[in-house]
Structure formats: C-alpha cells, structure tokens
Subunit: 342 residues, 2 copies
DNA sequence: TTGTACGCGTTATCAA
DNA sequence: TTGATAACGCGTACAA
C-alpha cells in the first residue's frame, strides 16, 4: 500500500487515457455524450489510477456542496441524538453529507458556529439550538443559505419552521388534574440553561396555575440523574408527597427512584410527569408517564423540508408536531387527556 | 435583509478597499506584514460588505480542510452518541468541523461511505463501524487520510487504534461465577447483525464455557426493548431462572422487567448482566449490573489521537480501554471481579 | 463526439 | 509593505 501517493487529478486521468480533461469530466458526471469506447477507456484508467474526484473542487466549480449543516448543542441527550438519527437517515437516502456545528451553552460559540455555517458553503442548514435567537438565524439566511429551524419561529423566503407543541397538552393536563381531584402540590423542576423548550413549558405551567389561582412550586435542580437523585433523597425526608413535572426522563427517573427508595409510593404519594419522554420512560418501574414527540420523525421531516426548500418546491413552510400523552404508571389518572378540555 | 445577495468575494473586498486581493488575504489570515492603516481599511470594508471567506476555496488552495470525517452507524444507540459527543467536544475545542458519514447495516453503503470520505478531502477520519473490515479501512489510509479506528486493529503509518477490551472481564466474570456458586444456567442473548463487539463477546462467552465444560444457551433476540420484553414475558412462563448476558441496557432492562413482571425475583431467580452499560443502567430498578466503558472518553481520546496523527506527533498508536464491572442489583455476587482470576 | 479556455475563491511565490 | 500571477482541481460554454 502506497501511503505517499499524491492525489490523482482529473488531469492525470485525461493524460493517461489520451483524452482531454473535459471528456473525463463528462464520464464521471455521466452527462454529455461520450463514445462507449472512450468511456470505457477512461473508466479503466480511473480504476487503474484509483482516481477520486475532489468534492472540494467540484463544489467550487458548481457552487453546490451536497452538504447540509446541522447546528445542535453538543449535549448528549437522547432526544437530540434522535433528531440527528432522523436527519442522518434522510441525508443518506438523498445523498447529502452532514456537517456538524456543535454548540455549547455559550452564546459566543453559538455565534461562531453561525460564521462557520456561512463560510462552509453548505447547501442548507438545520438549526436545533436553544442558544440562538431569531436574529442570529436570520444572519444565516441573509447569506442565501436555506434553513429549517426547529422549535423557533423565524420568517423569511428561505426559512421553514418546525414547531414542537407541548403547551396545549400541558395546559389540559394541569386543568384536568385540578378539576378532577388533584390533591398533591405541583412542582416544576427548573433546570438552569436548559433552553427554550423548557422555558416555554415553565411559563405555561406558571400561567395555568395563576389562571386557576393554585399554588405551585419551582424547584431548581441540576440536569443530572445522579445529583437530582441525591437532591430528592434529601427532599423526600421532609416532603412526603407531590406531583413533579420534569424536563427529561433522566430527571423524572431520578425523582421517582428517590421517592421509591424513600419508601414512598408512586403514584399514590408522588406523581411524576416527564416533558420530553423517550423510550427510556418505558424501561422504568413504575413506567414513567410522559409527554412525547417522535424526535426521529422531527429530524426526518426537517430534512425533507430543507431539501424541498433548496429545490424551491416547499409548499408548507411550517410543520407542527403535537406532543401526545403517554400514560404510564407514575401518574394516578389513567384516563388520558382531552385536548379540548377548557 | 437582502436574501438575493451574492457571495462577496475577496476580490470585491480588495476593489472596495483599493488594495490588491493579496493584501486582503494577508489581513484575514493575520500573516505577512500589513500597515495598521491598510489593515483597518480592509477590516472595515470586510465588515461593511459582510465578507466571509469561502472555506471551499481556502481548502482547495491550502490542501487542508480542518474537517474531520466520522464514520458511524446511523443506529441510534446511546453509546454511539456518547462517542460522538466526545468527538464533538474536542473538535469544537480544537477548531475542527465534523463531517458525518452515516452507514447502515448494509455493506454496500458502508463502502460508499469510504468513497465519500476519500472524495471529501477531510484531514482525517474516525471510524467506529462494525460493517467495515481492516481492508476497507486500508483503502482510506492508502489515500493518505489519517485514520483512528475504534474497536478494530488496522496497521499502517497513518493509523491509530482504540481497543475496547471486554474479554478479560467477561472471562473472569464467568469463571468466578461458576467457581463460587453459579447455579443458574447462563444464556447469551444473540442479536443478529449487532456487530463485531457483540460477536467477540459471544465468542468469548462460548470459549469460556467450553473450557469449563459447562452448558450454556444462546438465545436469539431482536435489538428492541419492546420485542425483547414481549419475548421474555413468554419465555419466563416456562423458564423460571437463569443468568442472562445482554448486549445493551435496553435489552437487559427488557429481560429484567419481563422477569419482574412475571413474578420472578431479580437477582434471586433471574440475574442480568449488560455488556455495554450506559447511565441508563442506573435508572433501572433493580439497578442493572453492567460492564462499562466511558464512551465519551473514547470519543475524546480518538479525536486527540487523530489530531496528533495529523500533526505527525503521535507517540502511542494504540489505546486500550478496559471495561469495568459496575456492580448493580441484578446480579447476586456483589464482590466485584478479580481481573487476575484464573 | 471531443478539445480549448475560462471561471470558481482562495493561498502563496516572487517582484517591485 | 504591497501587487501581479500562478497554482489548487474541477465544470462548462463554446468551438472544432
């Protein structure tokens, strides 16, 4: 194996086949007319020399990269990697490559990502990042890069939005809870810097309680199973009941296990609701009740929308995914939610 | 916002600033000497025009992309996304962009990915894919692309390997189990097409049993929580005990929950061991006993090795990650494993 | 059907 | 300190 082999160029292939590089270009792009004989001749030398076209040069010449940028927090959450899996699948199927622009919880780095997106010449970009505002995203589109934004409304000619709808479900959950026989105090687990999705849910939680004139708690906790588990082991020494609305399954499981391990009964003493439920809600005992959106589907859909956007044939610029209530064993009420409940 | 704005080129910046494009190039690359006055002049027009250098053209000219390719199965496993998270973090910290080459369980697509890796001009590649053999990977390095291979041994000048070591731990687990008081029949859960890692473990499982002259079972199951749960709900109607070695936490949880829900006691009737344990092992009740390697650390390490490899200053071409035994409640023995146990 | 010549947006070498 | 000019590897009108 020759590791020092320099990149074989189209020019070398042309020379070795005794044709011009234009002909080689026609062969590899399968367009324009080429005699079967010359085609074979060229294909043979391509195979012999191990020629691989430089996508860099191709992109520069055609102004297309067949690369899609994906802006996501590097955070290692299951629901994020689910979105990524969906994006990945469609990308593979449609022949796109994915460039990852990972952000952190730092806003500066998020902005730096935007610069890189613009520089990188991607054909389009999918943004699923809580740190970026509308204006930040507009910068991208102002450079003529089509964008699909998940969970944030941005307008423009080459933008599409995907809306993740949790609020109506949460509203009806709260209202029905109190109207039926909600006797436990409700607490919302606030996680610092966990992003827009959680913020919206928290606002909705508070608003609903205010409207109903009900007391509620906001409990600060870390976005970590271990620490939240420890925290609630302590908590349940003095508090022996409650309904807890949690961000992710890990957090919900932490509260639930802490309750169970404190000798409390779930759901009779303590109820748990998880906002972003994944398949891990089901492996818990008791099974976690959760709100659920198929994030892989969200990823697929955003990719399909983006491709249509790129090809200028996107009809509907907004897609909404409604969360559903996955009834587990960590809540008392098993009747489901009426979405039209007033 | 002007969406029709064409890409501003270095040439336009030069013209607008009244300098040559060579000077602009010096300014954006901060090298060569430029008068503070001209520098400011250029920087101002860059800001005014909203110029962003094309990384495409830069890469073509410098023959460096600052892009790292990542070849992983699109499969949506937690341990894979953990690796990706580790890679991502170091990439961000070191200013590399990531290009994702997702493969499926189809070998053809895996080979297609290799072609794309070569075409894409990445500065290096990290391969964590069970479908690719040594020879496939050698193709990449033969094109002068440095590579770090996870869980497969490939040799060459510009290759580094990361070895995930489960076998010794599994061996001592099995030996100690029988030498102490292992009275339950051991079963290995075989998942079709789950890749090399599981294959190795299965081989090791069988070899150890043969050496000890012990009976064992191989049980085929799907790589899905739901289906495996259903399967074992059925299974436990007739089989009321056993020790089950499972691939991932989901599978282990499926068997465990099926056992518990069948009125069996874990670990007294049924014991469970998970090979690739993640943090989700701990949210289960009982807590799953598992073998564990910090996959995020694996990702980070592979990135560090690759960067060193690219810069020609990698000392140690092989890194080994030894699995540790995370003792949970799904196995009877809580004494841990002696790695030197014969 | 095939070849010539130019452009894509940079970097880098060499003069000035 | 600056400015021409030649690469980098390819696509593509246009001409032959």
């Amino acid at each position: 194996m020759n590791y020092e082999k320099d990149r074989v160029t189209i020019y070398q292939v042309a020379k070795a086949s005794g044709v011009s590089l234009a002909t080689v270009s026609r062969v590899i792009n399968k367009q324009g007319s080429v005699t079967p004989a010359t085609r074979k001749k060229v294909e043979d030398t391509i195979a012999r020399l191990g020629y691989r076209p430089s996508s860099l040069a191709q992109s520069l010449a055609t102004n297309r990269t067949t690369n899609i940028g994906v802006v996501i927090p590097s955070a290692n959450y299951v629901f994020i990697s689910n979105v990524l899996a969906g994006i990945t699948e469609v990308a593979r199927e449609r022949g796109y490559l994915l460039t990852l622009f990972a952000t952190t919880h730092s806003r500066e780095e998020a902005l730096a990502s935007i610069e890189k997106v613009i520089s990188s010449h991607v054909d389009g970009v999918i943004v699923f990042d809580d740190q970026l505002s509308k204006d930040d995203v507009s910068v991208i589109t102002s450079y003529n890069v089509p964008a699909v934004i998940i969970d944030e409304q941005v307008s423009g000619d080459i933008v599409a939005n995907i809306h993740l709808s949790y609020d109506p479900l949460l509203t009806s959950f709260i209202k029905q809870y109190y109207s039926r026989r909600g006797n436990k105090a409700m607490s919302f687990l606030h996680v610092h810097n966990a992003g827009r999705l959680l913020q919206h849910a928290e606002k909705s939680f508070i608003r609903n309680h205010n409207e109903l004139g009900k007391e509620y708690n906001i409990i600060n906790c870390d976005d970590s199973y271990t620490r939240t588990y420890a925290q609630f082991l302590e908590y349940f020494k003095t508090n022996r009941s409650g309904l807890f609305v949690c961000y992710r399954d890990s957090i919900g499981a932490a509260v639930m296990n802490a309750a169970t391990d404190s000798g409390l009964n779930v759901p009779n003493d303590v109820e748990i609701l998880t906002l972003i439920g994944t398949k891990y809600a089901r492996i818990c005992r008791p099974v976690l009740s959760c709100f659920h959106i198929d994030m892989e589907e969200v990823g697929k859909r955003s990719m399909y929308m983006l491709i249509d956007l790129i090809n200028n044939q996107l009809q509907e610029r907004t897609a909404t995914f409604d969360a559903t209530y996955s009834i587990g064993e960590s809540t008392v009420d098993r009747r489901g939610l009426d979405p039209d409940y007033k």
